[in-house]
Symmetry: C3
Subunit: 321 residues, 3 copies
């Protein structure tokens, strides 16, 4: 199997990364999500698509926010959800990751939602399941190291499509710590897959990884230049721990150069939208006047995120074995 994300019928078996995902599958996820947007508005916010299925949230790295979105998505699909805080479990007793997975599979798990600090951990799990013919078990990558965060990438695409309709005429800027950001990586692959003609990465030299040009991305260290004429601005969260290192001088200095203020936003197209994966550092990467302003679509991102996760999970659960 060349692409471990697809089964022999070409259907989505696992969601590990947007890299390598066919455009048709990305669009199928976005179309399915759009049918779920209404569900959360209903009086009874549930559909029975995953009734009796067992979803395991395996969070080897703490993330209440992401775990919550998957927990809500699972419950609205009527699945049974079991949250496992893996630091506190057998991992600390020396059991290997794959022994844990084998055990949970033996309990007839249907889906693993995996967050891990090490890049590639969800791949390792998916490969192990494929190798052992556990085709009834599906893996969703909920963020692995610096590698990928595909559901965030997909919800970002859903948001852009919702506001801008046509990907093929857009200029999209991603601003901030591109180097350490799995969100940036997933967004870049998704934007490219969907045919966005110009993707820009804006940030200080120290936070721009090599190889962006090969991905078709234009890099800018001057934010004012980078924002000129863009349709979509994706702000990244600045990890506080970067600030104390050699990579960045201070939060004030960062805000001065790369904080999104109303003045800077005015350089983009007048109908440009502002996105952020959250949680925001107000006054560090984004000014409150922008975060709460009319061009921000940060809360709609959250709303769409539930629908996108419901779409991914229900598509995986419906894959043929």
């Amino acid at each position: 199997m060349l692409n471990p994300q697809l089964n022999k019928h070409g259907e989505l078996q696992h969601l590990l990364s947007i890299e390598g995902l066919p455009k048709s599958i990305v669009n199928h996820i976005l179309d399915t999500a759009s049918s779920f947007v209404g569900v959360s508005d209903r009086e009874v916010k549930k559909v029975p698509l995953m009734r009796g299925k067992s979803v395991f949230n395996l969070f080897f790295e703490n993330s209440t926010r992401t775990r919550t979105t998957f927990e809500i998505a699972s419950k609205r699909l009527s699945a049974d959800v079991i949250n496992l805080n893996i630091q506190a479990s057998s991992a600390s007793k020396g059991e290997s990751l794959l022994d844990t997975i084998d055990n949970l599979s033996a309990m007839h798990a249907d889906m693993f939602v995996v967050r891990h600090s090490q890049s590639g951990a969800p791949y390792l799990i998916a490969k192990h399941l494929n190798d052992h013919k556990q085709h009834h078990v599906h893996v969703v990558n909920a963020g692995d190291g610096r590698h990928a965060h595909p559901t965030q990438g997909l919800l970002d695409m859903y948001t852009i499509r919702h506001y801008k309709k046509d990907f093929t005429k857009l200029t999209v800027a991603i601003v901030g710590d591109i180097l350490h950001s799995r969100v940036a990586r997933s967004d870049i692959h998704a934007l490219t897959t969907l045919g966005v003609p110009e993707v820009r990465a804006i940030g200080p030299h120290t936070l721009l990884p090599g190889g962006l040009e090969q991905l078709g991305v234009r890099t800018f260290t001057n934010m004012d230049e980078g924002l000129k004429g863009v349709d979509v601005i994706i702000m990244l969260r600045l990890q506080n721990e970067r600030m104390n290192g050699a990579l960045l001088p201070s939060a004030q200095e960062y805000f001065k150069n790369y904080g999104l203020t109303p003045e800077r936003l005015a350089l983009a197209r007048p109908d440009a939208i502002v996105m952020h994966p959250g949680p925001m550092n107000r006054g560090v990467e984004i000014d409150s006047a922008v975060a709460d302003g009319p061009q921000a679509v940060i809360l709609p991102q959250v709303t769409f995120g539930i629908a996108v996760r419901m779409a991914v999970m229900s598509i995986l659960a419906g894959a043929k074995e």
Copy 2:
């Protein structure tokens, strides 16, 4: 909107405090609770009143006991419950309280059950939701700082009504650390609202706050005097941390002066009931002979507490938008 707890139709929109709550609404909650008391006795202890609703337990301060009662109440109403331990979440990543609330609202939360160490936090959340026209989201205060614990106050009223029927002829004594007690504060407002003619506060000078007289409460530092002829005794939990400070000499000394013993209980009316919000410090504020004796209604309080919380949640969920 003068009272942030009521919507424009005069219905309960949030439950933040018993202070300022119309007597008719207090009685409506108690009457509704009485219809739920039977549900927990049934073979299938569930009603579908909140099916498909998303309830978030937002506990910024740890309280397994209170969280558990709300979790049970939610599940018996068929709601989906998501527990958030906020210390471990985005709060630690520097996200503000209101950004967290906006995010969860964007996920189509229906209800926030909020416990917070700072007085007023649930008010802040409710006001923010009202200001942003998020009328589909309801807040229940599950205890904020020293301010209020309205569901405890309501379950105490339910218990008193169950055993004593008529509030307008009662003498009720609250004993212990009134100064730091949100339970005492909520009970005093509830008893006053329901027309109890004599409310007494008993405790050492250092633990009696100023201003009790203005609330219509008689204060006693001598417990024997304070207990004379009362119908209801509400014992408060003594926080261990008070003991080490300047406020109190020792647990032994406290028990000698303010511990409820069978001898002291005999000073009250012979049919007086003894209440305690739990968890009890046996041998500190209450003697085991009393706690396990025939006049204690401490476990019925717990049972009624589930019904009262089901009543509050179902009334809020049914409010018009």
Copy 3:
């Protein structure tokens, strides 16, 4: 009531220990489990046997693995599950164990699944409930100190029965730290009850408790001798903390003498099965070639464990009051 596990009708009221459990009840549990094995294979893995029942996982000792199996079993029986991490709760506020139990019973709990580091804690709880006529509440011991782990013992019996059919012709060896193992103790009682003619205990002198002979168990300190001709090998997990004490020299030394290698396994009957309660220490008590080999039934044990726990819980829930 002589046996606190049985009610006056002779039905299972609590599952505390396999010691003293009538053979007919053990067989009833295994037979019931066999009807549940299929449920986890279905598209909708749920039966409504415990709909509306409230199951409390009371884990005074951390065990994600065991808690998870009970949580899955409960959800597949359609029960409402509430997980309580007791270290973080009222226990730390000084509330006694039995006050906690009384409180949860007052919330109309139906079942307590109890894991405790102190031997006898589940007995104490069951006796307290029986003494107070709380016959609607059932206790399942999910492991207490060094005493018992009855659901593990039962799932081990289910596994042996599945592969070997007839207990009355078997030789079963239990290998490792018998002294500290509640699993070993439960297995020995179960094997004896079900009529296994030869039970062997293999381990170093320091890890073999006294009194095994009185239970009808043959002891071996030489593993090669002990494994000769056995039908079933139950490997125990070696607790890392034993290694640093005076009881054992080192993990390498232990593996040399008591690790199950393919060579040693060849001394058993050719159709012998290898079991392990997990989590495994690969390279300490078991070689990976054996753990992943054709004679290992370690993952089927996990699968059967869910069915056995569903059986125990549904039988308890169905007991007459």
